[in-house]
Amino acid sequence: MIGLDDSEAVSSAPLTAAALCDALYPGRTTRRTPVAVFSDFFCPFCRRLIQMLHDRQDSGADDIEVFWHELPLLGRSSEMAALGAIAAGLQGRYATYQKMLAATQFRPTERFLVETADMLGLDTERFTRDLSRGEVETALDTSRRAAGALGVYGTPAMTIGKTIVMGEVSEAEFDRLIALETDRETGC
């Protein structure tokens, strides 16, 4: 398929079953249903899912807690954009940065990523440093390992509690899945 790059395959061993919940939902603080989203900025269906989840939160829905995971599968551009989003997250602005990238057609050069960070008021010197820091790579690696453990082979994909959802879902389907998982109380 166009755009696929063989060098982007998952490089690390999958996580153990016991470590999965912590990796998917790090620092979970509420009893709302946790949702982990695996996405790639260059996957158009992921952009739609990102938008849907942001719209849902903007509309005041408070039943879920979303944890974003970058899973760049479509080559170096995807990986660059993912690193930018994670670096923005180190300054507490992941969601804003992600929302902007998901709504933009772009080539993710380092200059573009830094300019976007600047536009959003981030500390650009720190952002530039963070792009190549181990912490960013580690976050990406953790997401890849979690995806590997779950058998996630493409994007968009999600976990809702302990339910793995592959492919694009409608908002109605998503709401039904949330309701089912909330009833299930799997303890993840």
Binding site: A17, F45, G154, P156, T163, G167
Partner: protein, 59 residues
Amino acid sequence: MSGRRDILIGAAAILTVGGGWQLWIRRPKPFAFEDMVGLPGWRRIEFTGVTIAACRMPR
């Protein structure tokens, strides 16, 4: 007069059947979950089609 009434009845019948058909094909269908081997408590559902195939991991 009766011709006009017949047309209205016919149009209403078509709309009713069409609306019913739309409701039927868009009805919420039961989800088909699969248990995950090796991951107790986990289950999986796949929404097939182009969406996942378009952005998948190289094999």
